[in-house]
Amino acid sequence: MLLISCPWCGPREEIEFRNGGEAGVAAPEPDAEPTTDEISGFLFFRSNPKGSFHERWNHSHGCRRWVSLTRSTITHEIESESQPTGRFRP
């Protein structure tokens, strides 16, 4: 069980959160006429590292805000502070 820190609610148990996959995956600019490869890369391909992974979590049973943090996929240790990813910051 992970203890995930929400920037607004403080440390909460993992069951209150929903994992949102890799953080910082940029969508292609629509005006730049992205290629099929660029679009499928954005939609389907993730880095899936062994080690430090920057990922998103949604505090779905709490304040329902998105946060991002770095977690080791080997030890599950959370290696960074949680950052709010929405427009409101604490």
Binding site: C9, E16, H61, C63, R65, F88, P90
Partner: protein, 199 residues
């Protein structure tokens, strides 16, 4: 005001109660659970500008907390922080007139919303010396009074159900807001947990 109405003109709460007075739904030696039926509830969403929060607090006659997971109180009226841009205002007496006035008067930023959510959840009160220990059986939060103080509120899980938890005014009692369709399950769970408690 938004309770289900039947042909006989009566109203019935999610737990089958027909009165505005609190009704005991679970009772044990050291704990009692009551349903406060038909508590008026208003969901407010707006940008958390201090001036707008102040104006809203003045118009609703209750302090709107800017700090996360805190409760503003004035008498029986409460304002609970739900998210950086969302609050829930509760009043067991009458919120309807204030809501009508708020929405009629205008003068709010364009992205403000006021939604009457009185039928969304019902309010349970857990009181008695064992109320905290009973809650702790199904809730991952630290409910110790040094951590979860009288002006705290939290959205969390109780027996795998989404709830809003807060301390009722001036007492050790807890308020638990639960969605209408989960209320019967939660009361069944509390009844069951309580049985194990005194075994």
């Amino acid at each position: 005001m938004v309770e289900q109405r039947f042909a006989d003109g009566g109203a019935v709460s999610p737990l089958g109660n027909r009165t505005f007075d609190p009704v005991v739904v679970v009772a044990g030696p050291g704990v009692e659970v009551l349903e406060h039926s038909f508590t008026d509830q208003l969901d407010v969403r707006l940008d958390p500008e201090p001036a707008v929060l102040g104006a809203l607090g003045d118009r609703l006659r209750v302090a709107i907390p800017a700090e996360p997971n805190r409760v503003g109180r004035d008498g029986r009226r409460l304002a609970l922080w739900l998210a950086p841009d969302e609050w829930l205002v509760l009043d067991p007496d009458n919120l309807e007139d204030d809501v009508a006035r708020l929405t009629m008067e205008g003068g709010w930023p364009p992205d403000v919303t006021f939604v009457d959510v009185s039928a969304h959840r019902t309010l349970l009160e857990l009181r008695g010396r064992d109320a905290r220990a009973l809650l702790a059986r199904g809730c991952p939060l630290d409910l110790d009074p040094r951590v979860f103080g009288p002006d705290h509120c939290a959205q969390t899980l109780l027996a795998r159900v989404d709830v809003i938890l807060f301390r009722l005014d001036g007492t050790d009692a807890f308020g638990v807001l639960v969605r209408a369709s989960f209320a019967r399950y939660l009361v069944a769970w509390l009844t069951d947990a309580l049985e194990g408690f005194y075994a």
